[in-house]
Amino acid sequence: MSWKLDKTRPICPQICEQICVRIANGEFKPNERLMSVREVAVTAGVNPNTVQKSFEQLDAKGIIYSVRGSGWFVSAETVTAKDEVDQLVRSKTADYFDQMNALGMDNSEIKQYVKEWNTNE
């Protein structure tokens, strides 16, 4: 399992996001056991305390849950994880529009580019 971490952003939310993405896209299935804190720490090359904090935040949102003595599991309900990803997509889209605006494009021009890019695919 690989983790892509941006060095200019806090690590904790990035771990949360990437777990949500994997739940939303079905890579991690409902009620499936997650990797342990230590496994995530080692594979991502990050501090175990940070991973623990990420897991606790996901737990608070009902995205994952812990079972005493056997680790962390994906919640049966994946709606919240999908919502998180949706929010992420929306904020990335906003970023994209900002960048294109900075290049002098107005919103209708940007939409045209997106449309053409799609058809070129």
Partner: protein
Amino acid sequence: MSELLRCENLTKNYGRITALNNVSLVIPRGKIIGLLGPNGSGKTTLIKILNGLLTPTEGSLTIDGFKPGVETKSRVSYLPDSSYLNSWMTVEQIVNMFVDFYPDFRPELAYKMLKNLDIDPSVKLKTLSKGNKEKVCLILVMSRNAQLYVLDEPIAGVDPATRDYIISTIINNYNPDASVLLSTHLISDIEQILDEVIFINKGVVELHKTVDEIREENGMSVDELFREVFRW
């Protein structure tokens, strides 16, 4: 979170030069902490005081409630900035020496790491390259089951792949009762595994924050912030 190390108003003068100026710090258990600062900022002085190799001019320092001395030496595993091992000894002889010296030494762990890094325990230390000697020193230090690991420049002389191995060794060896204090210049390689960073400059603690706080507040990595704070 229980406290492992406390230093209060620590000052160290070398003649008229002040190496540490009124440093106060608390380090809890279960943390990996980076001690960062430019050359000559006082990092090694602080590390030497907490190992009992130097005595402070003023102020106090305790580890698990004890002043540096016999009790703290059984709790602190120290990697100095230069090797002190006898180069005519074989790696295996040195491992045996550590077994004799430290009741908390885990030889099976040392041999496992030596094997992973492809170092033959039957060779003499002097036949190893600089990087491989450093690996042996670090393996010995990490093989103790200590409460505080103090690593002075642990990754400076080794290749990037070995750096990754060392970093994963530190993570794998993580224990909620123990802390790791490490000094380094190679911040970008190591910042992801740190809980907290301490910036020290001219003997003064300039900043003591978590890595995520720094990234959140400044929108930049610890490495970038360091370059900005200590720009010439």
